[in-house]
């Protein structure tokens, strides 16, 4: 019997080539996209869960209560780890890291040539690091490797790059020396495996934390700031979290001064939640994939599978017309209904399985594509054996929904009617299931399309909004040495192609995750009333360079080693209720010292557009002027070459690197861009799958109504009339689905947009564009088939009976 089923399934597949390939292609696409999204979602939700002690590990985060707001910091004061270790011996492990940071190394190769290497992912980690996080050692002793201050542990990748080593001779790296910033010799004490993709600790090199401490004595003894130290504790049991948190409340008094004690509270954040929690922001070198986007993506995955399944159901039930004769014959020949159900389920399951097997191949391709294109988040998706389970689930769902239902419908035909090809039209219900499914399907398709359009406008808003400063044709290079800044500047300007140069801590909008923070108050205010502000350092050309507009006062007169002048933004003034001219001459105290406000600039976006403009203070300081901003005067950027040679001339012993400001700004929207790209792709796919289904459906509807078309043509119907005769019904359905989906999209897109401080307003025409374009594509799909049918000579259609 099974052999018989198989034979018939195969012959039917071959016979109906068009509908078979639509079915298989649509389903393959649906299953593949669904599973890839699930794999991606799993990847993003399992960051750092692979460590052996992952469940007991917590990051210590710091809530910083200021008069105007509470700040949530993922980094803590540096001395915290040591103090915890001393006072809580019962805690399993305490470890602290700093970075990853960017450093330059000088390494001598076997021919005694000195080569410079820039390494952006240098992590300072203490000897407890590998007791907390899983690190696989390829060479060296894991217990002692990070004990000596002047040591370094390389990943396999760097061992290969620096010394040309490979898996069989990593031992040879041990004992070699590399020069940090060309001066501090570090001895290689270990080689470890490259970190996995789904960890927020993307290091290429580990340097003992002790080394960092010795070189940064001020920070490493300061309890007030947060700087860059990230502290982790491993508790004996995850359940001790609350208990431990409450102990910290009393304990911190011992170290924090009274103001800080009031302001700062410590909390434990489970390691496994870090990657999906937006409250504390991304750690250096990492990114956050918010939980709600994760959930949305899973829903999207299921929706896409559903769209594909609905196609399948519609096509199979539409085909039932051509199978009705068979049902009749088989019933008359003695088949039971259960037998027929079994046969049709088998047939459908056969197609589903075929699609599922194909999708395994497609999934691999898609994963590769994603990995190659999402290098900015270091994506390393792998197809694992467990993913077959996802496919199996999809198959199960598909068979349950899309194979059984049509089989039940088909097998219910009464033999006499079936043989006469009389259709059991739904007598008692006006709502035909197929129509309902098409409506639902196109509702989802329009949901995706409209969402993608709204996202596109929001992305455009991010990219093209007036930021309040110039960002075009600006290159940022490092300026590692303040003394040489003037020479560099003169060289740049002398060479041509460069119109302006300025130096400062960073561009007006904070990029690359770097923003200097401070707190400010009037000198007469007590310290606990300090508020949080961004601190920027700029030279005398900074305002002019970025075209920041002075509302009152003047520019700096000079940069000094002890700053004495501030320029503040408008938002800063709101905390004191001053107007711009009132503010001039006022003295302000910040963490780093006191100075007088000499100027007020018009607000510019100092944060990316998801966030509000925050109080910002510009200092006339000579410190922290680590970046050079260079404005190129011609659109071909011919100056780039000169900039490089000038830079290398000025700062020998360092590695040149540059970045365009607008690129750096665009990077601030990585996650938003991913969501947008995702929705763009999904909406195209959903339109494709939906229209495939419609196309297949139309071909059956038309096959059934061939005679009717023939009659209509004989009676004088025109082409257009014939098209509208076929398509009218589906036009109505697509229009109806728009009415259903529009309010849903409105609701969800509002929710999404509200997360951003600066967002577009949803307007009627965005919905209109989405609805109309879906409608048009659906119409084209319908018309294509009906035109074909209307062209047939009516005699051929009529002769058949």
């Amino acid at each position: 019997m099974i052999k018989n089923f198989f034979k018939i399934a195969w012959r039917n597949l071959i016979k109906n080539k068009l509908s078979s390939s639509i079915n298989i292609f649509g389903l393959t696409l649906g299953i593949s996209v669904c599973v890839v999204i699930l794999i991606f979602a799993r990847y993003e939700s399992t960051f750092d869960t692979f460590h052996e002690k992952s469940e007991q590990t917590f990051r210590i985060v710091q809530h910083n209560k200021l008069p105007n707001e509470t700040l949530y910091w993922n980094t803590t004061a540096y001395p915290l780890a040591e103090a915890l270790r001393n006072d809580f011996p019962e805690v399993n492990v305490v470890t602290q890291i700093a970075g990853p940071v960017n450093r330059i190394f000088k390494i001598e190769d076997s021919f005694e040539n000195e080569n410079l290497f820039e390494e952006p992912n240098v992590l300072f980690a203490d000897n407890y690091y590998s007791k907390t996080f899983d690190v696989e050692w390829l060479a060296g002793d894991k217990n002692t490797a990070l004990k000596e201050t002047a040591s370094v542990v390389l990943t396999a990748k760097l061992a290969k790059r620096y010394f040309g080593l490979s898996s069989n001779n990593y031992q040879n790296a041990l004992g070699k020396t590399i020069l940090l910033q060309s001066k501090d010799p570090l001895t290689v004490t270990g080689v470890i495996k490259n970190p996995k993709g789904n960890t927020d600790h993307q290091y290429n090199m580990l340097i003992p934390y002790e080394f960092f401490k010795i070189n940064n004595p001020y920070f490493s003894a300061n309890w007030s700031g947060n700087y860059q130290g990230t502290t982790y504790v491993v508790l004996n049991e995850a359940s001790q979290k609350i208990d431990f948190e409450s102990k910290l409340i009393n304990w911190k008094k011992k170290y924090l001064n009274p103001q800080d004690n009031k302001r700062i509270s410590y909390h434990l954040q489970p390691l496994q939640e870090i990657h999906n929690e937006t409250l504390y922001g991304a750690s250096p070198g990492g990114y956050i994939f918010p939980k709600n986007i994760l959930n949305i993506s899973i829903v999207v995955a299921l929706f896409i599978l559903l769209i594909a399944l609905i196609n399948f159901i519609n096509l199979v039930t539409a085909q039932s017309h051509s199978r009705s004769k068979e049902v009749g014959i088989r019933k008359v020949m003695g088949s039971k209904r259960s037998h027929l159900i079994l046969q049709f389920v088998f047939e459908n399951a056969f197609v589903i399985l075929f699609a599922a097997i194909l999708s395994i191949v497609v999934i691999q391709g898609l994963i590769q594509l994603l990995n190659n294109n999402l290098t900015m988040i270091n994506l390393k998706l792998v197809f694992q054996a467990i993913d077959l389970l996802y496919i199996a689930l999809a198959i199960f769902l598909a068979i349950a929904v899309a194979a059984v239902y049509p089989a039940v419908v088909l097998s219910a035909f009464k033999p006499v009617q079936a043989l006469k090809n009389k259709f059991n039209k739904p007598v008692n219900s006006k709502i035909n299931l197929r129509k309902a499914l098409v409506t639902f399907q196109f509702g989802m398709v329009q949901l995706f399309v409209i969402a993608a359009i709204v996202l596109a406008f929001q992305m455009n808003h991010f990219k093209n909004s007036e930021l309040g400063f110039h960002k075009e044709a600006i290159v940022i290079t490092k300026s590692p040495n303040y003394e040489k800044a003037t020479i560099y500047r003169e060289k740049l300007l002398a060479d041509g192609g460069v119109s302006k140069v300025a130096f400062g801590s960073g561009p007006p909008m904070a990029v690359n995750g770097i923003q200097l923070g401070t707190s400010y108050r009037l000198p007469e205010q007590p310290e606990e009333e300090s508020m949080d502000a961004e601190m920027k350092i700029g030279d005398l050309h900074y305002l002019d360079f970025f075209n920041l507009e002075l509302l009152a006062g003047r520019n700096f007169l000079s940069n000094k080693e002890v700053f004495d002048e501030f320029i503040v933004n408008e938002t800063f003034l709101t905390s004191f209720g001053w107007n711009p001219s009132e503010a001039i001459g006022k003295k302000i105290q910040i963490n780093e010292g006191q100075a007088t406000i000499v100027g007020v600039v018009k607000d510019f976006h100092n944060n990316s557009l998801q966030y509000e403009i925050s109080p910002c203070i510009l200092l006339n300081w000579t410190y922290y002027q680590g970046n050079a901003f260079i404005k190129m005067s011609d659109s071909n950027f011919t100056a780039l070459k000169n900039i490089r040679s000038n830079w290398e001339d000025t700062y020998s012993n360092a590695i040149y690197d540059y970045q365009f400001l607008d690129d750096a700004i665009a990077k601030e929207y990585t996650v938003e861009n991913m969501v947008f790209t995702g929705f763009g792709i999904f909406s195209i796919l959903s339109v494709l799958i939906g229209c495939l289904g419609l196309f297949g459906l139309m071909s059956f509807v038309i096959a059934q109504k061939r005679k009717e078309v023939g009659v209509r043509k004989v009676l004088g119907a025109s082409l257009i009339e014939n098209i509208s005769f076929f398509s009218k019904e589906y036009f109505h359905l697509v229009a109806l689905s728009f009415i259903i989906s529009a309010p849903l999209v409105y609701y969800f897109m509002n929710l999404w947009l509200e997360r951003f401080t600066y967002h577009i307003k949803l307007s009627f025409w965005m919905f209109l564009i989405g609805g109309l374009s879906t409608f048009l594509i659906a119409m084209l799909t319908c018309s294509f088939q009906s035109i074909k049918a209307s062209r047939v000579n009516p005699i051929t259609a009529l002769r058949e009976e």
């Binding site: 018989n4 034979k7 068979e326 009749g328 019933k331 008359v332 020949m333 003695g334 088949s335 039971k336």
Partner: protein, 220 residues
């Protein structure tokens, strides 16, 4: 006696009116008979055949088949009854296009759960008897109309039915093919199979032993 219809009525309601398809049909069929049902289009010939074949129900009256009261039987038992004792032959053959001749013949046996070896033997026997061994691997579309109907009759016979119901079995065939099929029926009848056929043709009706005439659902 094979079957007996007593006062059978069948109607449909259309626009508040009751339209009779069959009106007070009384028919008795003995084993070994060859009956032709005749009448103009719309007189209820096919409906009567479907009622006899239990493919269609009726609204009033009694139907006894081999001493079973069909009108009292549940749908399932009724279909078991016709599956066991009745073979059908159709005007448009109704062979399954996706199956070969051999597979078409085998299909009813599959549903009767006949064992594989026995099935093969029965199919081979039938192919032999109808002289279509050479065509066993062809699909219906590759056969002429007459050959297709030959397969149709073979399929109806393969499960050894007591009664064959044929709805215009030669309606789609030319005169020579028609004659062959009718000769076949006649031969089967002499071998003991009861046959009821619906036909328009006087010539075909002449092959039978009795003619039943219908007009507007009534026997005349």
């Amino acid at each position: 006696m094979l079957l007996q219809l007593n006062n059978i009525f069948k109607w449909v309601n259309s626009g508040g009116q009751r339209i009779f398809l069959l009106k007070d049909i009384n028919l008795q069929v003995e084993e070994g008979e060859f009956i032709s049902i005749m009448g103009p289009s719309g007189s209820g010939k096919s409906t009567l055949l479907n009622v006899i074949g239990m493919l269609d129900g009726f609204d009033e009256g009694e139907y006894n088949f081999l001493d079973e009261s069909v009108h009292n039987l549940k749908e399932k038992l009724r279909s078991n009854l016709y599956k066991e004792y009745i073979g059908f032959v159709f005007q448009s053959y109704h062979l399954l296009d996706e199956l070969t001749v051999q597979e078409n013949l085998e299909m009813p046996l599959l549903y009767k759960k006949v064992k594989g070896a026995e099935r093969k033997a029965m199919v081979a026997d039938m192919l032999d008897r109808f002289n279509i061994v050479g065509k066993k691997d062809l699909f219906p579309a590759q056969l002429s109309g007459g050959q297709q109907q030959l397969v149709g009759v073979a399929r109806a016979l393969i499960a050894n039915p007591k009664l064959i119901l044929a709805d215009e079995p030669t309606g789609n065939l030319n005169s020579q093919q028609s004659e062959e099929i009718m000769e076949l029926f006649k031969q089967l009848n002499t071998e003991g199979v009861t046959i009821i056929q619906v036909t328009h043709s006087e010539k075909n009706a002449a092959y039978g032993s009795r003619i039943v005439n219908l007009l507007d659902g009534r026997m005349i």
